[in-house]
């Protein structure tokens, strides 16, 4: 199996229970693996939580990790996918000084070119939001950093797969 490290997106469907974050993060911690990003939200199924984690590992490692995650009692199903098997987005927000918007400003163009948008403007600052792939966000960051960024935050990756997940079928099977 491929020993080369690659970026994998892990999707985990779980019950919404206290302590599960600890349980899942412990699986990575114990193996000295750094998690690139993590996101938890509701899923397409009522009362089922969906986690998206991004990790850089070999396929052999990620397979074993998925096994350990699925072994947890409150995990319904876990998957791993490569970049081309998913559709993903990240989101970020920049806080910038309001002065930059006035006068001979480049900002309307920068925002347009980068498919970003302004969320709020007040006397002191304005906030730009941008969703996209990591590289697009990095590009915007580079441009804006020349103007001085007051604050910056980027979200974890959110992703959906091109293929069907079949979770609903699994859960229905349990009920029957």
């Amino acid at each position: 199996m491929n020993q080369e490290n690659k970026l994998y997106t892990v999707t985990i469907y779980t019950e919404n229970n206290i302590g599960l974050l600890n349980r899942i993060s412990a699986i990575f911690q114990r193996r000295h693996i750094n998690v690139e990003s993590i996101n938890s939200s509701v899923s397409e199924i009522e009362n089922v939580t969906k986690w998206i984690m991004v990790v850089k590992l070999s396929e052999e490692q990620i397979k074993k990790i998925i096994g350990q995650i699925e072994k947890q009692v409150e995990v319904i199903k876990a998957y791993y996918h490569t970049e081309d098997e998913i559709i993903y987005q990240e989101s970020c927000i920049f806080k910038m000084k309001s002065d930059l918007l006035f006068g001979d400003s480049q900002f309307p163009d920068i925002i347009k070119e980068n498919n970003a948008r302004i969320v709020i403007v007040n006397k002191q600052f304005f906030v730009i939001e941008k969703s996209g792939k990591k590289e697009e966000i990095d590009d915007l960051y580079k441009v804006l950093s020349t103007y001085g960024i007051m604050q910056f935050t980027r979200s974890g990756r959110i992703a959906i797969t091109k293929d069907e997940m079949k979770i609903s079928t699994m859960l229905e099977a349990f009920q029957n």
């Binding site: 349980r23 114990r30 096994g67 699925e70 072994k71 009692v73």
Partner: protein, 577 residues
């Protein structure tokens, strides 16, 4: 309420009754069939103890001398009986003292339910007296855990705990109950857990995989089985024996698999692993099909993975999907419960005998006998060996005893040389290697199987790690036989220091107390043996004594356990000297 009404109510779980959370804990335990639990009281669990007092005619609480002792006793209870071991402790230090036993149960797949008291819910996170985040602390070493802050959550939490602990690949679970939840009254009704939607304890048997496995086994010229505790946990001993006998395959065991098939069985070829037998280790690297059943290819079994059974096709019968390809790549994985899988495998197998292949095991056994076993069992030197003590115990118990060992040299000797006629007779800490496991585990084992002879065998090091449990034996009058093989060293570490650290015996020499006097201090009959000629009578006296007995045997100080696979070596590079 008088005892009679209590008793009557305790058995009726279908009706709703208004009771406190703490009474619900005890009633839930009763509904799960718990007759014995091990623990230690303290502030945050006092309401439950108050109910245990009221229900003492129905449920036997054993006061250990340390919470770690409670976990090991619960493990011993579970390992010999197959039932779920239960222990109970207070918050804070009471709860953290459970961790070693929980970790041990996790790595050795022992079904155990731990109940801990917790500070009142309004105090959570306030650094209250004896508050500790036991759910957080125990997460990596439990199969499942949860915190309960309302009385109404108690029955469901306990029902889930028992279901999870026992089903599939067993393991320890922990339920942490805040003190206010214990006091709170609610309408109690108990319903056993029958399934959890996110949890699939037994994977469905894949008949295609089973057929592929049978084909490989039938075509094999030099097949070898390595079985583990999965055979015992799955209660698959008779199905396993039938498979081994029909296919005529030499079968070796991991340390926790020991006793699933009698020692005397002609197809039982001994133990694999670091201090296992010569033949099965060497021939692991010569077999053409390696059939692993209910075992997990621990590093102490495989040695260097890159030189482990590379020539063989590997068939893995396993209940836990995460074990497949974890350490050793399999050619055919048969997921499922051992009993069901092996029963389904049997009709697909052809009858075989493989006489030439068997002869290879016999030839290598002869070498091991000459180089190691003969000198271990019948030494010509002056000092007593650990193995001759085991041999004497074998002779006098006829192999019917349950041997509960601790960790170290004596453990390897006990596992190598103890004769087992019955399953669930080898109780030891395999995966975690927890010194101090033996004595308390023997207490639990004896309580769960009072009709069996239970012999605790420890070294002088491990014995002193939980020696306080002599107090439990004294108070409970538990008739366990305690053997300490005293070499005045932490023997296994000393052996490594001799072999790999130029005999620099860093902190392995023990200045020991008068063990006989200590045992007698607890009113336990005791004897010390220093000479070979005293051994037979001393073991006889121990076996024939009603009640607990302590036997110290002073063995040679610098004995070594062989064969041995050095760290990083291949199984076939096993050393005989």
């Amino acid at each position: 309420m008088n005892t009679e009404t209590k008793t009557k109510k305790a058995t009726d779980t279908t009706k709703t009754i208004r009771i406190s959370g703490s009474e619900a804990v005890v009633r839930s335990l009763l509904a799960e069939g718990v007759d014995t639990l091990y623990g230690y009281p303290g502030g945050a669990i006092m309401p439950v103890y108050d109910e245990l007092y009221k229900f003492q005619d129905k449920i036997h609480h054993v006061l250990t001398r340390h919470e770690q002792g409670a976990t090991h006793a619960a493990q011993g209870y579970a390992r010999i009986s197959g039932k779920v071991g239960v222990c109970i402790a207070t918050s804070g230090p009471g709860a953290t003292n459970l961790i070693t036993g929980i970790a041990d149960a996790q790595i050795d797949s022992t079904p155990m339910v731990c109940i801990t008291g917790q500070v009142a819910s309004h105090l959570l996170g306030s650094d209250a007296f004896q508050e500790t985040d036991i759910v957080g602390i125990s997460t990596p070493v439990t199969k499942w855990n949860c915190q309960v802050t309302k009385a109404s959550q108690i029955p469901e939490a306990i029902a889930k705990a028992f279901y999870i602990a026992k089903s599939g690949r067993p393991g320890p679970v922990l339920v942490d109950i805040t003190k206010d939840a214990q006091f709170e009254e609610f309408d109690f009704k108990y319903k056993k857990c029958k399934g959890i939607r996110s949890y699939n304890p037994i994977p469905k048997l894949d008949h295609k995989a089973l057929e592929a496995a049978a084909k490989l086994i039938n075509e094999a010229k030099k097949p070898m089985i390595v079985w583990g505790q999965g055979v015992i946990l799955g209660e698959a001993e008779s199905q396993f024996k039938a498979v081994v006998e029909k296919a005529g395959i030499p079968a070796a065991w991991t340390i926790l698999g020991a006793s699933a098939m009698p020692t005397s069985h002609p197809l039982n070829i001994g133990m694999v692993g670091m201090h296992g037998n010569y033949a099965p280790n060497v021939l692991t690297n010569q077999c053409d099909v390696l059939i692993a059943i209910g075992m997990r290819f621990d590093d102490r079994v495989t040695g260097d993975l890159s030189r482990y059974a590379k020539q063989a096709k590997v068939v893995h019968f396993e209940i836990d999907p995460a074990e497949i390809d974890k350490n050793v790549k399999t050619d055919v994985a048969v997921l499922g419960d051992a009993k069901e899988s092996l029963a389904a495998l049997l009709p697909l197998l052809e009858e075989k005998t493989h006489p030439e292949w068997h002869q290879k095991f016999k030839d290598l056994y002869a070498i091991e006998y000459e180089k190691v076993i003969k000198n271990d069992l019948h030494p010509t030197k002056e000092g007593l060996t650990m193995a001759e003590v085991l041999n004497e115990i074998n002779n006098q118990t006829k192999g019917d005893a349950a041997i509960v060992s601790d960790v170290g040299q004596h453990q390897m000797i006990a596992c190598r040389y103890a004769n087992f006629n019955k399953t669930r007779s080898n109780i030891t800490s395999g995966g975690l290697g927890t010194m101090g496991f033996g004595l308390p585990a023997a207490i639990g084992a004896k309580m769960a199987a009072p009709d069996r002879e239970v012999i605790s065998i420890s070294g002088d090091g491990g014995y002193q790690m939980t020696i306080q449990e002599l107090g439990t034996i004294f108070q409970q009058k538990t008739p366990v036989k305690i053997v300490v093989l005293n070499n005045e060293f932490l023997g296994m570490v000393r052996q490594w220091q001799e072999l790999f650290f130029d005999k620099r015996y860093a902190s392995t020499e023990m200045t020991n107390p008068d063990f006989v006097a200590i045992a007698k201090g607890y009113s336990i009959a005791a004897q010390k043996v220093t000479k070979r000629e005293e051994l037979k009578d001393a073991v006889a006296k121990m076996i024939n004594t009603d009640g607990p007995y302590f036997l110290e045997v002073c063995v040679e100080k610098e004995g070594k356990v062989f064969p041995m696979i050095e760290t990083g070596a291949s199984v076939s590079d096993i050393r005989l000297e």
